[in-house]
Amino acid sequence: MQRSRAPVVTGLSERPGGATRRTFLLATAAVTCGLGVPIGLPSANAQQSATASLDDPGFLRLSKAVTGHADLDATIASRLMAALHRAEPTFIDQAAKLARLVHEGQESEALLAAADAAGLRDTMLTLVAAWYTGTVGHGQQAEMVSYVDALMYRPVSDGLRAPTYCDGPIWWTGPPPAAGVSAPAGVPLAPSASPATAPKGG
């Protein structure tokens, strides 16, 4: 298909002055305490080593690597990171390990293979799902982060808007774009004659 994909720039932050995970979490706790999240950090979080931490820019770079999309929004990244942490306090540590597997110019598929070998496959797929669905977690614990910016709408953006948005009155009557992807694989239903119950043209 012809849709272009921007080049991916990856790599962990080595900025000495970058925000640490601890300061990030403190900020998160301060912002969310009004929503019933306890103020203060779990002791386990405070004990994380510096090498396990992942700052906002680092999380954004990791996100670009796992999704293969270079143009991700930094604000959404920060909010997803906070939500992923709330959903599973150890997630950011796992993500930091995953970030260390990232190489310049690496395709997402290659990163997934490396993640798989390192026992980080679920971490990577959780992060991918968060970006594509805009949602973290499941059921009553699900946390909504992004709607129209969820990556799932991008693969069809040449022919479909995210529901609730539109392209003006009666916009849909023209021909849709070319498929650009192969037809679904699989064994099709066997051809069959009209069933005895088929309508007779009523």
Binding site: M1, R3, R5, T67, G68, E107, S108, L112, R121, M124, L125, V128, Y132, T133, G134, H138, G139, A142, E143, M144, Y147, V148, A150, M152, P155, V156, G159, L160, R161, P163, T164, Y165, C166, P169, I170, W171, W172, T173, P175, P176, A179, G180, V181, A183, P184, A185, G186, P188, L189, P191, S192, S194, P195, A196, T197, A198, P199, K200, G201, G202
Partner: protein
């Protein structure tokens, strides 16, 4: 302008007291206010704003959206919950072999459930009103299609229905007037689907729908936001709130968070007052000349049973034990597959074409008819769910989402249950709502007529699937509710077998009307709203007639 009056203690008085602010209640209120009568509407729950509902939906988590949680975005009144399923609040108790297929998603919000309908505005076929005499099953209506037809025309005008102008694409074609607006244009997928299936008799035709194909009575032209369910962002689709607002402009007063729970009757069994709880749980009463309960086919029977009084110990309008019986819905199921060509589901409103070939035929003496809606709700959500489950990332993930979204097909099949007296709304013996009022229970068994109809539909769907070289072809085994609640206060000439007459007036109470879906004696396979509205208009005429002679 005539308006209800209120006493210092909050009690109210009006010519007409209406419980329920949905399409039927609000339209009747609007009709009667137009003729100079004072009307009070009481709605159990909250008034919401469209923009807030849109925002709430955009803030709804992915799984809820893919799972069609069309209730969760609507704020709930503390005292009057709607049935909720994410998670289930068990407000409606479901029993019987098909109770799990009767999970109705109705709103008690001002304007009610047309906030999140898809706006299909079908008419019953003439033969649908004569099922017993034609096919030997079900019941005949006490009124004929010819009597109902002018009301169908008026209802189409009231709701602003867009439909096909060609007779060959109408179902039924027995019409005395054209549709108020021409049909909503089809997208590529609708056109292509029809090309493939129509040579085989399935007869895909445009769905008549209360959606603007041009600017209509203040409604904008549809912009294909593909979000009719659960909320049209721009108001191009009819919602009951349209009639609420029209009625209010004529002096009608709407009370919110007003839960009607008790009904007074006099020595002639005329209704003299209804009592309601306000938001602060204080009881008030409303007196009037005429009383209309339009709370839907499940809540109206519940209220009639709750309101049992000394003269009516088994419930209001229930002297012959008919209230709550003959509950129906278009119990249905979905069929999904991936076609061998892209159909680009999701361009335009959420549904525009429907296969009505299986809607009628001699087979109806043996098994249920069906209709097959070609759903046009965007498949991007389900496609993403499926593609993520495959563990894909990067370009492979993007391509898989695109493939499943544009080749994906979702068909919604509706079946026709026969009216069965054992399918019934009753009052729960152990569950109470926040006001301490008994919650509704429903026993539901679709019966072998529907089960045989489902089997016939399966064969048709397999045939249709084969025409598209379907892969991942799946027919859901679980019946789903369609929120087309009918029965419960059925109409008839014999009070022993019915609750109301052909005008929707209670046999037991000369000034009590129970209009809408509850009165319907046969379900057909088509969405019930237009028929409910037509019957509501017929009731409104009858009410106006009695008020003129009062």
């Amino acid at each position: 302008m005539p308006a209800p009056s209120f006493g210092p203690n909050g009690d109210a008085s009006a010519d007409v007291i209406v419980a329920g602010s949905g399409v039927v209640g609000a339209m009747i209120a609007d009709q009667l206010a137009s003729q100079g009568h004072s009307v009070l509407i009481m709605e159990a729950a909250l008034r919401i704003e469209r923009a807030q509902a849109v925002e709430n939906w955009r803030n709804t988590p992915f799984e809820n959206r893919v799972g069609s949680d069309f209730q969760g975005l609507y704020p709930q009144a503390p005292n009057a919950p709607a049935p909720l399923y994410f998670p289930a609040n068990n407000y409606v108790g479901l029993y019987g072999p098909d109770g799990s297929g009767f999970k109705q998603g109705y709103l008690r919000t001002v304007g009610r459930t047309t906030w999140h309908w898809a706006a299909s505005c079908w008419r019953h076929l003439p033969v649908d009103l004569r099922m017993k005499s034609t096919y030997g099953v079900g019941r005949d209506w006490p009124i004929s299609y010819d009597e109902l037809e002018p009301y169908y025309c008026r209802a189409e005008e009231e709701l602003g229905v867009a439909g096909p102008s060609e007779t060959a694409r109408q179902s039924p074609s027995e019409r005395s007037r054209p549709y108020p607006m021409d049909m909503i244009p089809w997208n590529y997928g609708d056109t292509r689907f029809a090309q493939v299936v129509n040579p085989h008799g399935y007869r895909s035709i445009p769905i008549p729908q209360a959606r603007s194909s041009r600017s209509w009575n203040g409604r904008p032209t549809c912009c294909g936001n593909n979000n009719c369910q659960p909320i049209c962002p721009i108001g191009a689709m009819y919602n009951g709130i349209n009639h609420v607002q029209r009625a209010e402009a004529k002096g009608v007063k709407v009370l919110v968070e007003a839960v009607v729970y008790k009904i007074d009757t006099d020595e002639n069994n005329r209704v003299t007052a209804v009592h309601w709880y306000s938001a602060d749980r204080q009881s008030h009463q409303a007196t009037g000349k005429v009383f209309v309960l339009a709370c839907n086919a499940l809540e109206t029977p519940r209220l009639l049973l709750l309101a049992a009084n000394e003269r009516n110990p088994n419930g209001i309008a229930n002297s012959t034990d008919q209230v709550g019986r003959y509950m129906m819905d278009h119990s249905g199921f979905h069929c999904t597959f991936l076609a061998n060509e892209p159909l680009w589901t999701g361009r335009g409103p959420v549904q525009s074409s429907c296969l009505v070939g299986p809607r009628d035929g001699a087979f109806r003496s043996e098994y249920s008819a069906n209709k097959i809606i070609v759903d046009n709700i965007s498949r991007v959500g389900p496609a993403t769910l499926q593609a993520l489950k495959l563990g894909l990332v990067g370009e492979a993930l993007d391509n898989e989402i695109r493939r499943r979204a544009i080749f994906g097909v979702d068909l919604s099949i509706s079946l026709e249950p026969l009216p069965d007296p054992k399918n019934r709304v009753t009052l729960s013996k152990d569950r109470r709502d926040p006001l301490g009022l008994a919650c509704p229970d429903v026993y539901y068994d679709v019966g072998d007529y529907v089960r045989r109809g489902a089997a016939a539909a399966h064969k048709q769907l397999e045939h249709i699937g084969s025409l598209f070289g379907a892969v991942e072809f799946n027919i859901a085994t679980q019946l789903n509710a369609n929120n087309h609640i009918m029965g419960g206060t059925v109409m008839g000439t014999d009070p022993k077998e019915s609750v109301v007459d052909g005008d929707g007036r209670a046999h037991d109470h000369a000034n009590l009307w129970l209009p809408g879906g509850g009165t319907m004696v046969s379900a057909s396979v088509v969405n019930s709203t237009l028929t409910m509205a037509a019957l509501g208009l017929k009731s409104a005429d009858a009410i106006a007639n009695t008020l003129r002679h009062a």
